[in-house]
């Protein structure tokens, strides 16, 4: 856990995060600013930019993605992968979310350039329990797009936009994967590259 901002792992803070995760709408989630030490965040971004990104297109998305960090040869990203997969981090996540996890994780890097987007879906697949996105985008503001959009749902269908989070530098978004977890990533309409690391805890 040495990679996480120390302010996030004391008992009082854990209790606050736990309460916030449970009560946040439209589905259980947390948006944590300043997730890692600043120096560490910059180092990770620097290394992520060295990875190979593959452009992917479908009806649902246009984006660029690395392969799973399980296969990365980059020392810094390997370390991040091991830390996220470590027992301590899983324990911290289980405490905050109240969700029992099996110890598996999928992690990859993403890059949304101008015109890239991810349309509305719920992330439900196999054993995914908690989804996460760690933002490494620099200087994004509202006019650039690339925001994370959460939808209210009714009768299993996304109904209207409930909440938006900008891709804020060094922040972590986690949410419970369920039949309600409809979300999308708004199109990057600016010229800045939107880097993030994301995946699922099983």
């Amino acid at each position: 856990m040495e990679f996480v901002n120390l302010d996030l792992i004391n008992e009082k803070k854990i209790n606050e995060l736990k309460e916030e995760f449970a009560k946040n709408e439209p589905y259980k989630h947390l948006f944590i600013k300043g997730f890692l030490d600043e120096g560490k965040a910059s180092e990770i971004l620097r290394e992520l930019k060295k990875e190979e990104f593959e452009h992917k297109e479908s009806d649902l998305f246009s984006l660029n993605q690395t392969e799973d960090f399980k296969f990365t040869k980059n020392r810094i990203l390997k370390e991040l992968y091991s830390s996220l997969k470590g027992k301590e981090f899983f324990k911290w996540l289980e405490e905050i979310s109240g969700i029992k996890l099996e110890g598996e994780i999928d992690v990859s890097g993403s890059l949304y350039k101008n015109c890239d987007y991810l349309l509305c879906h719920d992330d439900q697949l196999e054993s995914r329990k908690i989804a996460f996105v760690y933002y490494l985008s620099e200087g994004f503001d509202e006019k650039d797009g690339g925001e994370f959009v959460m939808f209210d749902s009714e009768k299993g269908k996304p109904w209207r936009v409930a909440k938006k989070y900008p891709p804020l530098w060094n922040s972590l978004l986690i949410f419970e994967v369920s039949e309600k977890s409809f979300h999308e990533v708004g199109e990057n309409v600016g010229q800045k590259d939107r880097y993030a690391i994301g995946g699922w805890f099983h």
């Binding site: 009806d59 649902l60 246009s62 015109c115 349309l119 879906h121 269908k157 996304p158 409809f182």
Partner: protein
């Protein structure tokens, strides 16, 4: 609207129809450029390009404008003469047509659901648009979600007939490069 009077004469010629049928039966798809007489198409697009409908969105399914019958354009593609024309290309009779006339601009799309791939049938497309470019998105993709994809880029006055067995169609998300440009799409099903 009179289908025979408005349609490019080349496509009504019996020899051309025989050739189109042969090609369609082999490939399951046919694309006809300058489908309507140019003067008819130019007059129509002037008439309809600023018509706005109700914008509808179900985020995990579609986002577009519903344009109803669009000043009688729908009648052209539901007329007896149109059904007779597509039946000749298909080599078997269609008795029923259903269509939607939809407007697509920046941020609009449709998403593909697996059930759509399983549904058999014949569909047609007709585009109204002006300065459209491939990198705006907005193109029609028919795919089996594995290795087969047919892509139709919007081009004004283009008509497409497609046997969609094993394929599902979607309209690719339109990105900010499109600015204020729009596509008007007549998207129909034939039975």
């Amino acid at each position: 609207m009179d289908f025979k009077r408005f349609t490019n004469e080349i496509y009504l010629d019996e020899n051309t129809i025989n050739q189109m049928r042969e090609s369609y039966l082999q490939t399951g798809v046919i694309k006809l450029e300058n489908f309507l007489k140019p003067e008819v198409y130019n007059e129509l697009i002037k008439l309809i390009k600023d018509i706005r409908g109700e914008h509808v969105k179900i985020a995990d399914r579609y986002s577009y404008e519903e344009l109803g019958d669009l000043s009688g354009v729908g009648k052209l593609f539901s007329s007896k003469d149109f059904l007779e024309f597509v039946s000749k290309i298909n080599g078997g009779e269609f008795s029923k047509v259903e269509y939607k006339i939809l407007g697509f601009g920046h941020k609009d799309y449709t998403l593909l659901h697996d059930a759509e791939i399983d549904r058999k049938g014949t569909e047609f497309l007709f585009f109204f648009c002006e300065k459209w470019k491939d990198d705006f998105g907005g193109y029609l993709v028919y795919t089996d979600n594995e290795d087969k994809s047919l892509i139709f880029t919007p081009a004004g006055n283009n008509f497409v007939l497609i046997n969609k067995d094993g394929l599902g169609g979607f309209v690719k998300y339109i990105n900010n490069l499109a600015k204020d440009e729009r596509i008007i799409l007549v998207w129909g099903k034939l039975e």
